[in-house]
């Protein structure tokens, strides 16, 4: 059974290799090949899942050792996969959602002449993501970690002829690299602390290490997670990443890749458990991002960027939950999975809208689309209800659990985190309602696009609607399914551990408060965008709105401090290298040149001049001889 794990990775990897190397002759069938291989991977995942279910809870870990990768004395990295409850959850999410999005892309990218390449990249992403979650050691995880970064880079910049896409791709990769520093250093620290970086030994012996070292490792892991999961302060790339095709946004920048940070933290639970200071940092990061993303989401008129803000905010929830320790790990993952369903669904819905609207993304130019795109409207609506936490839908269970866990942290910390999560829920309800109202309700505000074509909104083809419907089903039912009998908690407990905190208030009170927040959020949104007509041109807005439109000035800060500063630094260094370092050398050379030029003048070519020096020399010799005799 273990031997299947490698196939899980191999299938999409094969697809990527064939599609990217195969060339034009695969143009006609390549996308189906990619979809098929993704589906194959999903099937293998299901088989493995079934086999895990067949074992008792304590032995649900399969390890497949493939080959020794880098052996240098005590440094040993293996290519080995570990499949346990946590990773199989991810495997199913990744391959499942991945397959759906492959299917969706068949329709969405139908008119793109480079569709084969797109599917190659998607397959590459799947393979990398699977390596990330299946790796048995941190170094192999790092491979997957950067692999998804590469795939993300390639896919964000898929429409390379657009300079904005190329820039966004580069930015995403670079910001991720900053996070990668964290992962690198964390691995090095593990090596110097434990002498290994395989999950098994590191996590079991984490208790032997000093708290200082554990805190250092944990903080470095947090830095890595921030980069990959677009958490403050490394969140700036996610909004720009929406330059990529929408399926990419759905798969990579909503459902899977951006949650890798959460995976990393939950996987390293043993380390974080031993470093309370680092956990506080994690919750702070989560809480700040939660609000940050939500506020940004409120102000964006670009439907994808609004959803991106939402993603950031929801991942903030997960990170916050992961920072809570054993009381939160399970719920972080649960929210991750349900979020995977509804956010992917929302993005696919947004893609469907754009597909029908000549790739328009400005919500102010939508309006009243529910009549023209019924399937999209329904699926998007269900996803919307799920994300705002409408009772008995997925988001209701997973988000509620996180809010409860935040309160359960106890003490002042618990109150602060709980309030933040409640506030976040209200804002979520607000901005999602805003998106919903601006897109599907109100009067039509369509305008001809740049080429003068009037949009003719229409429902998308079947290949696109089927994935949306499936995801909508997931958004509706997953939460209830997981919640029933605490199935999910029991499933993950052996890996992450679980403990009930002592909540200062009752569960029902929190649920009620959440619902109140929800109603308030929806109400305000309806008052602002439902009752009144939405202006086609964005009003100036308050200072906060304007700041939020610009991602709360984070980019401007980066631009001024890092980009400008870096440019000045490199430019002055180029100058220094040319004038100072090279100048010293060239100066020495010029010095010798000048000296010999002057010495050359002595050689004036006149025999008599030479005769004088000879005669002088002879005189000196005579003098020396006489002196020698005298002495």
């Amino acid at each position: 059974m273990e031997n299947l794990i490698a196939l899980l990775v191999a299938a999409p990897l094969l697809g990527a290799a064939v599609l990217l190397v195969g060339g034009r002759r695969l143009d006609r069938a390549g996308h189906w090949l990619g979809t098929l291989l993704a589906a194959a991977s999903f099937v293998i995942g299901l088989v493995l899942f079934a086999s895990l279910l067949g074992k008792d809870a304590e032995h649900r870990t399969l390890v497949q050792h493939l080959w020794t990768w880098v052996p240098v004395e005590s440094f040993r990295a293996d290519v080995a996969f570990r499949l346990d409850q946590l990773s199989v959850t991810f495997v199913l999410l990744i391959t499942g959602v991945g397959t759906l999005i492959h299917l969706y892309s068949v329709g969405y990218m139908a008119h793109d002449e480079r569709r084969r390449r797109f599917f190659g990249y998607l397959n590459l992403f799947l393979a990398a993501m699977l390596i990330l979650v299946l790796a048995d050691n941190y170094l192999l995880l790092y491979v997957g970690w950067e692999g998804v970064g590469l795939a993300s880079y390639l896919l964000i910049g898929f429409w390379q002829h657009k300079p904005s896409a190329a820039t966004a791709a580069k930015k995403a990769f670079l910001v991720n690299r900053v996070g990668d520093i964290g992962l690198s250093i964390a691995i090095m620290l593990m090596f110097t602390t434990f002498g290994t970086f395989a999950f098994g030994p590191v996590l079991t012996s984490a208790g032997d290490a000093s708290e200082g070292r554990l805190t250092a490792i944990a903080l470095m892991l947090l830095l890595a997670a921030c980069g990959k999961s677009a958490q403050v302060p490394l969140q700036s790339w996610l909004g720009d990443a929406m330059e990529g095709p929408t399926p990419v946004s759905a798969l990579i920048h909503a459902a899977t890749m951006v949650t890798a940070g959460v995976y990393l933290i939950v996987r390293s639970a043993a380390i974080f458990n031993g470093a309370p200071d680092a956990q506080v940092a994690v919750t702070v990061v989560g809480a700040v991002t939660l609000l940050f993303g939500a506020i940004v989401g409120c102000a964006k008129d670009d439907i994808k960027k609004a959803l991106a803000g939402s993603t950031m905010s929801q991942i903030g929830y997960m990170v916050l939950a992961a920072g809570l320790g054993p009381i939160g790990y399970v719920f972080a993952i649960m929210h991750l999975v349900t979020h995977g369903f509804f956010k992917a669904g929302l993005f696919l819905g947004a893609g469907s809208v754009m597909h029908g609207m000549n790739d328009e993304v400005d919500m102010r130019k939508f309006g009243g689309l529910r009549k023209y795109m019924p399937v999209t409207f329904v699926t998007f609506g269900l996803g919307y209800l799920a994300i705002i936490g409408f009772p008995f839908l997925s988001g209701f269970y997973s988000k509620d659990a996180i809010i409860e866990a935040a309160f359960a942290k106890g003490g002042t910390q618990g109150w602060i985190l709980g309030s933040v999560t409640l506030l976040g829920a209200a804002i979520t309800a607000f901005y999602m309602t805003r998106v919903m109202l601006m897109t599907f309700f109100g009067e039509r505000r369509w305008q001809p696009d740049a080429d003068g074509h009037d949009p003719h909104p229409h429902e998308s083809p079947t290949t696109m609607t089927i994935p949306m419907i499936v995801l909508a089903i997931g958004s509706v039912g997953a939460g209830f399914f997981f919640h029933l009998g605490d199935r999910f908690v029991h499933w993950l407990e052996p890996v992450t551990g679980h403990s009930e905190g002592d909540s200062p208030v009752g569960v029902s009170v929190i649920t009620a408060a959440t619902l109140v927040c929800l109603v308030v959020g929806v109400g305000i949104a309806w008052a602002m965008y439902g009752r009144r007509a939405v202006p086609a041109v964005a009003p100036r807005g308050s200072l906060l709105t304007r700041a939020a439109r610009r991602d709360l000035l984070q980019d401007d800060f980066n631009h001024v401090v890092l980009v400008r500063g870096g440019e000045h630094l490199t430019r002055s260094l180029v100058y220094v290298d040319h004038t100072l370092v090279d100048g010293v050398v060239n100066g020495t050379a010029a010095g010798f040149g000048g000296m010999s030029g002057r010495l050359r003048r002595v050689q004036n070519g006149f025999v008599r001049s030479y005769a004088v020096s000879m005669f002088g020399g002879a005189a000196l010799l005579v003098a020396a001889t006489l002196l020698m005799r005298a002495v």
Binding site: R600, R601, Q603, N604, G605, F606, V607, R608, A611, V612, F615
Partner: protein, 99 residues
Amino acid sequence: MNPVNYLYLSALLFTIGATGVLLRRNAIVVFMCVELMLNACNLAFVVFSRMHGNLDGQIIAFFTMVVAAAEVVVGLAIIVSLFRARHSASVDDASLMKL
């Protein structure tokens, strides 16, 4: 008078000849100054011969004369051909090595 005075005279003539070599530009005159230096040496040799009471010094002076004759022959030939080529007997004009 001490015969050493011959040696002083020889030194004086030699110095005058050497200075002449350095000062004059006409190749012929330079050559003459060289001859003067050779003659000054010859005088010294002859005086040495007297000093030591054997004829070796005179022999050396004799050889010097022979060599000087050969040198003059070749040297003057060079001067003549130089003059033919450059229409000048100035040593300063033969300064191809100058800047």
